[in-house]
Amino acid sequence: MLKQTEGSHAVAEAIARCRPEVICAYPITPQTHIVEGLGEMVKTNELANCEFINVESEFAAMSVAIGASAAGARTYTATASQGLLFMAEAVYNAAGLGLPIVMTIGNRAIGAPINIWNDHSDSMSMRDAGWIQLYAETNQEALDLHIQAFRLAEELSCPVMVCVDGFILTHAYDRVDVPEQEQVDAYLPPFVPRQALDPAQPVSIGAMVGPEAFMEVRYLAHHKQLRALGLIPQLSDEFKRHFGRSSGGLLRTYRTEDADTIVVALGSVNGTIQEVVDEMRAEGSRIGSVSICSFRPFPLDAAREALGRAKRVVVIEKSLAVGLGGHLSDGVRKSLSGIVLNGYTVIAGLGGRPITRNSLHQLFRDAEQDELEQVTFLDLNADLVAYELAREAQARTTGPTAEAILRRVGTVASQIA
């Protein structure tokens, strides 16, 4: 059913249709609306047969999820930023135990400095924890991916993180098609756990594994992600047959067939990128873009196929590998192993800095001329940076950097972007 609603609410409805049995979450901006929505649905019994638990921390949230999932219940939680870090130990634990928990990440920057706005640093911090990571480009895809996520998680016995850009998607009103319960039931069968705490068949879960077998256990986790490379497109195809639209999959290409320049990105910024691609195509540029949906497992072969014939690849990163560059670039470079082309990393949108059409247009033009640095920070205020570096060079006790810079930025409230 078509609705005009807030992204978070649409996601909550999709999750409710998946018949979760245990929902446990701790509030953190910008995920709060999702969990509040679900909490209300449980209280009114609109979402029946579901336990909603108000936990005391994110660490508790993932821990409760681990217990519930290990006992055979379909389990969901959500977090962002600091919360994801606070549950980090449990995030790795859930993957190591092979528990099919589904978690929404309302992508938000990690402090210090504290920042509530969107970027990908949070999910990037857990990219190697063993979870599958899917990035939604639109609110429609955000709700669709959760349905696919439960199916994927349960078939593989592997937890799945669905990443939805905080505020930009979570707090935006969009037109979405929320599936009917029957449609979701036809796609997502009841959860049959591979292992469960059951007095009728007692097992010990989570015992120590020594040097004799640890390599093998970890290899099997690696293998599981490689299997996901095949399963993700399959489930996306099946989703299309059931629901009538393309959603998910490993990656999507946009006007890349004859492109000399291809832009790669994760998440919502792809919408703006496609607009710029259209503008530049109209001006005669041979430019296209690739939106990667499955970041873990990273689709090396599909990326190589999509990017390998271009002259240059520009990777837009909403996260920073401090001192190095980006995270998405690593996977892209690896996929192009042996192929010679120019690769550019552009760090953009950190902490919610808007990525504008105009800036991208200029950026892509520079890229076409190969007039870009290896690593660029988009729309960096060079004056501000120069000021602070000069200030720090003058004295030892210069006080906190962020505060000094903010003093120069002026009244934020009077600015639009």
Binding site: V22, E56, A60, S63, A71, L197, P199, V203, M208, G210
Partner: protein, 329 residues
């Protein structure tokens, strides 16, 4: 013939011959049909108080729940010695997640059982003092606050034993540990630190809180059996000597535990919904010296010259407990 009532004070496994007690009063361990939930073959040290306590507690819980039980274990000695790869000595559904989250994981298991209509499957969370009073404290309080249907059992050997005897918030004053060396002007653990988790559990007003000791295994079984049918959060804190960490003789484990109780240093009591209900009276009070002198972790108190000041401070703690928990007749 004149009949004289005889009161059996000690009705533990090896005394009085359980056959003299009624069926319902006998130890679970005396029963051929006991579940051996923590089976033999585990790798605990000789004289391990925790292994003893866990065996009694879990088998009692299994009997009380008609063997419908799942256990969640924090990282620690019990978890490590009971599941040495590739073996497990647990005969029940059991999960180990992390060090600090046993209470939360157990809350999750209980929620799952509820939603699946399997409320008859009861949940126990267990951990050592480290995993309960320190790193697991947040999750423990959260579980209590929500009144989640879990029985949490803390095996308190008063330090982080599995990692090499480091100090925890359950370590008693003056005790030597790897991080509270018995040197300097204030040897051993600092006085005036530490927390009393049973009292904190009471402050949450949960249905049932009790302390127990491996010195009185019948009492331990009785308390577990009492706790099991209750719905909501329950907490049992069991004092378990660690011969290795305490520097006591493995054969003295139960004796040392008994002296802790009889000196007043480890009070045995029960509370319900935040109100103190009863305590086990000390039959024969002993000075703390008798307890302390059996453990090398307190040896520095007895090195010449004897540290009578600190021993007196410890005695004061014991005396305070006696008054506070009404431990004397």
């Amino acid at each position: 013939m004149e009949m004289q009532p005889i009161k059996f004070y000690q009705t533990a496994t090896f005394t009085v011959g359980n056959r003299l007690l009624g069926e319902h009063e006998r130890s679970v361990q005396a029963n051929m049909r006991r579940t051996n939930s923590l089976n033999s073959g585990h790798r605990a040290c000789q004289g391990c108080g925790e292994a003893l306590g866990a065996r009694y507690a879990i088998d009692a819980a299994m009997r009380a729940s008609d063997s419908q039980l799942a256990a969640v274990n924090a990282t620690g000695c019990l978890e490590v010695f009971s599941t040495p790869y590739p073996e497990t000595s647990w005969q029940i559904p059991w999960i180990h997640s992390l060090f600090g989250n046993a209470a939360a994981v157990a809350s999750g298991v209980a929620a799952a059982m509820r939603v699946k209509g399997q409320e008859d499957v009861r949940v126990i969370a267990q951990g050592g003092d480290g995993g309960t009073t320190d790193i697991g404290f947040g999750c423990l309080s959260g579980m209590f606050e929500r009144n989640d249907d879990v029985l949490y059992i803390c095996y308190d050997n008063e330090a982080y034993m599995n990692t090499g005897v480091q100090r925890s918030s359950a370590t008693p004053p003056a005790a030597r540990t790897a991080t509270t060396a018995a040197v300097g002007t204030a040897p051993g653990n600092v006085f005036g630190t530490g927390k009393n988790v049973p009292l904190i559990a009471m402050a949450h007003c949960i249905p049932y809180v009790a302390t127990a000791s491996v010195a009185n295994l019948r009492d331990l079984e009785f308390k577990v059996t009492k706790a099991m049918p209750i719905r909501g959060s329950r907490y049992i804190h069991i004092h378990v000597p660690c011969p290795l960490g305490w520097g006591s003789a493995p054969a003295d484990t139960i004796k040392v535990a008994r002296l802790a109780v009889e000196s007043g240093l480890f009070p045995l009591f029960e509370a319900e919904h935040g109100e103190f209900v009863n305590s086990t009276k000390i039959r024969r009070k002993v000075p703390v010296d008798e307890y302390l002198s059996l453990q090398k972790r307190f040896a520095h108190l007895f090195a010449k010259p004897v540290d009578s000041t600190r021993i007196a401070l410890i005695q004061a703690i014991a005396d305070h407990n006696v008054k506070r928990f009404e431990l004397l007749g």
